[in-house]
C-alpha cells in the first residue's frame, strides 16, 4: 500500500508540472461550485419535480405540492444555466489559467477562449439566433472546453504580449496588444468550425452518437453488456455520456418483449431476454450514478480522514441519492484521474457480472417493469421486479461490495494528499529558514 502511495505521489507531482494537467486541476476547482449547485438543481428537478420522474409518479408530488410546475421550471433553468453551460465556462477558465501560466493577459484570454468555444460549436446559426443548446455545452463537453481553452491560452503565449500593461501602458495599448492572439484564436476556431460543419454534413456526428449511445439499444447479449459497461465507465471518466442511455433501453424491442411476456404469464421469471442493458446495467450498475458513486461516498465516510474530501462527501450525498455524480466527477476529481478510473470501471462491472450470474442461477428475477427516472439507485431493481425482496437484498449486497472496492482507493488518495501536504509544509519551513 505504501509503495503505491509513494508511486502515486511521485506521479502526481510529476504530472502537475505538465501545463495541461496543471490547468485542468485549477479549472476544475473553479468549476466545482457551479457543478455542485447545478447537480443539486438537477437532482431536485429530475428526481423530484419532473412529471414522469420519481417524485411525479411515486410521491404524487403534483397532487399536493403547490406551484409544482413553476418550481420545476425554475430548477430546470438553474440546471441549464450551470450544468448546461459548464463546458463554455471550462473553456473560459482554462484559457485564463493557461495564459496566466505564461504571464500573458489572462482576462482577455478567458473571454477569447469562451467565444472561440462558442464559435466552433454553434455551427447552427440562423439569421438572428445563436443556438446555445448544443449537447457539447454540457458536462459531456467539459474536457473539450478545457482543450479549446488550453489551445487559446497557448496562442496567447505565442502571440500575446507580457503583463506589464495595467500599470505602465494606457488602456488602448492593452487592447491592441491583444489583437494578434485574439485573431489567431478566432482563425483557429473558424477552422474548427469548418471541421464541425463538415462533420455534421457527413452526419458523422449522428453516426458516432448512434454508435456511442444507441449502439445496442436494448442489446441482449451478456457479453456485449459487460463490454459496454466498461466502455460506459471509461467514457464517464472522460465526462461523456456512455452507450446504453436509459431512454433507448426502455424503448427497445427487448424491453417490450420482456414486458409483454411478464404481463401475459403473470410472472417475471421466464422472460425471453434475461440479460439486457435494462435488466443488468440500469438495475444494478446505477447505484448513485456513473461508477456507483454512492459506494464512493460511503467509502469516503468510512475511511477518509482528509478534511476537504469529507466535505465533498457530505455535499455529494443529495445528488448521489438521485444518481447524479457530478460533484464527485469534478470535485475529487474523478475526471481524468488515473487513480479513480480503476474502481469506476471495476464497481459497475462487478455488479453486472454478479447480477447476471444470479439471474442465470434463477436466484433473482430480471427487472422487466418500468422504473421512473430519478429513482434512488438501490431501489431500482426492487421496483423493476415489482417488489421482489431478493432483488433488493442483492442490490444492497452489491452496494456493500462496491464500498469495499472503493475503500483502498480512497485510502491511497488520502495518502497522496498527506504526502503532498507534508512536502509543502517542509518547503515552507525551508523557505522560512532560508
Amino acid at each position: 500500500m505504501n509503495k503505491l502511495v509513494d508511486w502515486m505521489t511521485a506521479w502526481m507531482i510529476r504530472v502537475q508540472q505538465k501545463s495541461f494537467y496543471y490547468v485542468l486541476r485549477k479549472t476544475v476547482i473553479i468549476l466545482f461550485p457551479f457543478v455542485l449547485i447545478g447537480s443539486f438543481a438537477k437532482a431536485v428537478n429530475r428526481g423530484l419535480l419532473v412529471k414522469n420522474g420519481f417524485g411525479g409518479q411515486v410521491l404524487h408530488i403534483y397532487k399536493w405540492l403547490p406551484y409544482c410546475s413553476k418550481l420545476q421550471k425554475f430548477f430546470a433553468s438553474l440546471e441549464f444555466l450551470t450544468l448546461g453551460l459548464i463546458a463554455v465556462l471550462a473553456a473560459y477558465q482554462s484559457a485564463r489559467y493557461t495564459a496566466k501560466l505564461y504571464g500573458k493577459d489572462d482576462q482577455v484570454a478567458g473571454i477569447t477562449g469562451m467565444l472561440s468555444f462558442l464559435l466552433i460549436f454553434s455551427a447552427r446559426l440562423s439569421a438572428n439566433d445563436l443556438i446555445a443548446t448544443n449537447w457539447l455545452f454540457k458536462m459531456q463537453g467539459v474536457l473539450l472546453g478545457l482543450v479549446v481553452g488550453y489551445i487559446v491560452g497557448q496562442l496567447f503565449r505565442v502571440f500575446g504580449r507580457g503583463r506589464n500593461y495595467e500599470v505602465v501602458e494606457p488602456i488602448m495599448h492593452r487592447s491592441f496588444a491583444a489583437f494578434p492572439p485574439i485573431l489567431a484564436s478566432f482563425f483557429v476556431a473558424s477552422v474548427g468550425m469548418a471541421v464541425t460543419w463538415a462533420f455534421n454534413r457527413m452526419q458523422l456526428g449522428e453516426i458516432l452518437t448512434d454508435a456511442l449511445q444507441n449502439s445496442e439499444g436494448g442489446s441482449h447479449e451478456f457479453l456485449i453488456i459487460v463490454v459496454l459497461t466498461v466502455v460506459n465507465s471509461i467514457l464517464g471518466w472522460l465526462g461523456l455520456n456512455g452507450p446504453m442511455p436509459y431512454r433507448s433501453a426502455v424503448n427497445s424491442d427487448a424491453f417490450y418483449d420482456n414486458l409483454e411476456s411478464a404481463l401475459k404469464h403473470n410472472s417475471a421469471w421466464y422472460v425471453p431476454h434475461k440479460y439486457t442493458d435494462y435488466t443488468l446495467f440500469h438495475s444494478f450498475a446505477h447505484l448513485g450514478g456513473m461508477g456507483c458513486a454512492l459506494a464512493l461516498v460511503i467509502a469516503i465516510a468510512l475511511v477518509s480522514h482528509h478534511h476537504s474530501t469529507n466535505m465533498l462527501g457530505i455535499w455529494s450525498l443529495f445528488p448521489v441519492t438521485f444518481n447524479i455524480n457530478g460533484p464527485l466527477l469534478i470535485g475529487l476529481p474523478i475526471l481524468l484521474s488515473p487513480l479513480y478510473i480503476v474502481p469506476v470501471i471495476l464497481a459497475p462491472l462487478a455488479n453486472v457480472l454478479i447480477a447476471g450470474g444470479l439471474i442465470a442461477l434463477k436466484i433473482i428475477p430480471p427487472s422487466v417493469f418500468v422504473v421512473p427516472p430519478g429513482t434512488p439507485g438501490p431501489l431500482i431493481s426492487f421496483i423493476g421486479t415489482n417488489g421482489n425482496v431478493g432483488s433488493l437484498i442483492v442490490s444492497l449486497l452489491l452496494l456493500a461490495l462496491d464500498v469495499l472496492i472503493y475503500i483502498p482507493f480512497v485510502r491511497v488518495s488520502d495518502g497522496v494528499y498527506d504526502r503532498l501536504e507534508e512536502r509543502k509544509r517542509k518547503e515552507l519551513k525551508n523557505n522560512g529558514k532560508a
Binding site: 411515486v58 461516498v297 466535505m311 431501489l379 421496483i383 415489482n386 417488489g387 433488493l392 509544509r425
Partner: protein, 325 residues
C-alpha cells in the same frame, strides 16, 4: 503547531458526515415504501390493460350535431346483426366537465361510444378546442375501461377532430387505434382545389408524421352531384390523402352514391353501415348485403334501386403497404 488542529477538524466533519449519511439512508429506505406501492399498482394496471379484450368503437359527430347523432345508425347496426352493441354517450362541456349517458353491458366487447361536445360549432379554432375536449374524454374513458385498442369513426368535422387528436394529443404506448373511418370529412373545409390550402389543411399536412403508422384509414365521400355531397366539395374530402397516404399502414378512399348520400344523411346510409360492418367492426354479424336483401316491399323498383346502390359504390383503393409508387 499545526498537526493537532488538523486532526481535530476531520473528526468533527466526519461526525456530521456520518449523521447525514445515515439520514439519507433512512430517507431512501422510507422512499421504498411508496415506491413499492406505486409499482404494484402500476403493474396491476398494466396487466389489466394488456389482458383486456375490450375493443370499443369511438365515434365523433360533425358540427351542430350532438352525441345523439348516431342513434339511428346504432339502431340499424343492432337490428341487422345478431350482436347488440352497447351505446355509451359522452358529453364534454366547455368547462371540462364530462357526463355519461347509457352504459356498457358486461360481456360486451365491442361497445359503441359517442363523444359529443357542448361546443359543436364549425371553424378551425373550434376544431382545435374540440380536439382538446376529446383528449380529455379519451383519457377518462381509457382510465376507466382500460382497453388496449379501439376503432375510430368521425363524421364530417368529427374526422377533423380525430386527425388533430392523433397529431397533437394521442401518445399512448399501451393503446392502439386499429382503424379510422372518416365520413365526408372536409379536410380543406369548403375549398375544392388542393392548390388553395386552408390553414387547417396546411397544419395537418405539416404534422402528419405524428399520426400512428399502424392504423388503417378509410376516407368515405358522399355525393349529391359529381362535385359535392351538398355541403362539402369532393376535392375537400379527397384532400385527406395528402395527410394519411404514405403515413398510415393502409389508406382507402371510398365514394358512396345513391339515396341517402347527401352530407347529413350519410350516417344512416345503408352502404355506410355496411362499410362499417365490413371494415371497422370486429365481429361478423351476419348482415346481408343489399343485393341479397332485394325484392322486398316495393317490388322491382326497390330491388333495382338497391342494386344501383350496390354497383355505384365506387371503391378506389389506394392501399399503402409501404410500396413505392
Amino acid at each position: 503547531m499545526e498537526k493537532p488542529k488538523e486532526n481535530k477538524r476531520p473528526v468533527k466533519v466526519k461526525r456530521w458526515f456520518v449523521f447525514f449519511l445515515l439520514l439519507f439512508v433512512c430517507l431512501v429506505w422510507s422512499l421504498g415504501v411508496p415506491a413499492l406501492h406505486w409499482t404494484k399498482a402500476n403493474v396491476k394496471n398494466m396487466r389489466t390493460r394488456y389482458n383486456s379484450t375490450l375493443s370499443p368503437v369511438i365515434m365523433i359527430p360533425g358540427s351542430s350535431a350532438t352525441q345523439n347523432r348516431f342513434d339511428d345508425m346504432v339502431h340499424i347496426l343492432n337490428s341487422k346483426g345478431n350482436k347488440k352493441h352497447s351505446l355509451l354517450k359522452v358529453k364534454v362541456y366547455n368547462n371540462g366537465r364530462i357526463t355519461y349517458d347509457g352504459k356498457i353491458h358486461p360481456g360486451d366487447n365491442e361497445p359503441i361510444i359517442v363523444v359529443g361536445f357542448q361546443n359543436n360549432k364549425d371553424g378551425y379554432s373550434n376544431i382545435k378546442k374540440q380536439a382538446y375536449f376529446f383528449h380529455l374524454a379519451f383519457n377518462q374513458l381509457s382510465d376507466k375501461y382500460k382497453f388496449n385498442n379501439f376503432k375510430a369513426i368521425g363524421h364530417s368535422n368529427g374526422g377533423l377532430i380525430y386527425t388533430r387528436f392523433f397529431e397533437k394529443y394521442f401518445d399512448d404506448d399501451e393503446i392502439t387505434c386499429k382503424k379510422l373511418m372518416t365520413i365526408a370529412t372536409p379536410y380543406n373545409f369548403s375549398e375544392s382545389s388542393i392548390s388553395h390550402k386552408t390553414q387547417m389543411l396546411a397544419d395537418m399536412i405539416k404534422d402528419r408524421q405524428k399520426i400512428p403508422e399502424d392504423m388503417t384509414v378509410y376516407s368515405v365521400a358522399g355525393t349529391e352531384s359529381y362535385e359535392s355531397d351538398g355541403r362539402v366539395p369532393e376535392g375537400s374530402v379527397r384532400a385527406g390523402k395528402y395527410i394519411y397516404q404514405n403515413q398510415v399502414q393502409h389508406f382507402t378512399e371510398i365514394t358512396v352514391t345513391g339515396s341517402d348520400a347527401q352530407h347529413s344523411d350519410l350516417p344512416q346510409n345503408k352502404q355506410i353501415v355496411q362499410l362499417i360492418q365490413q371494415y371497422i367492426l370486429d365481429f361478423n354479424h351476419g348482415f346481408r348485403s343489399p343485393q341479397q336483401q332485394g325484392g322486398g316491399s316495393n317490388g322491382g323498383k326497390q330491388a333495382s334501386e338497391n342494386a344501383k346502390e350496390a354497383s355505384n359504390a365506387n371503391v378506389l383503393l389506394t392501399g399503402d403497404d409501404g410500396s413505392q409508387h
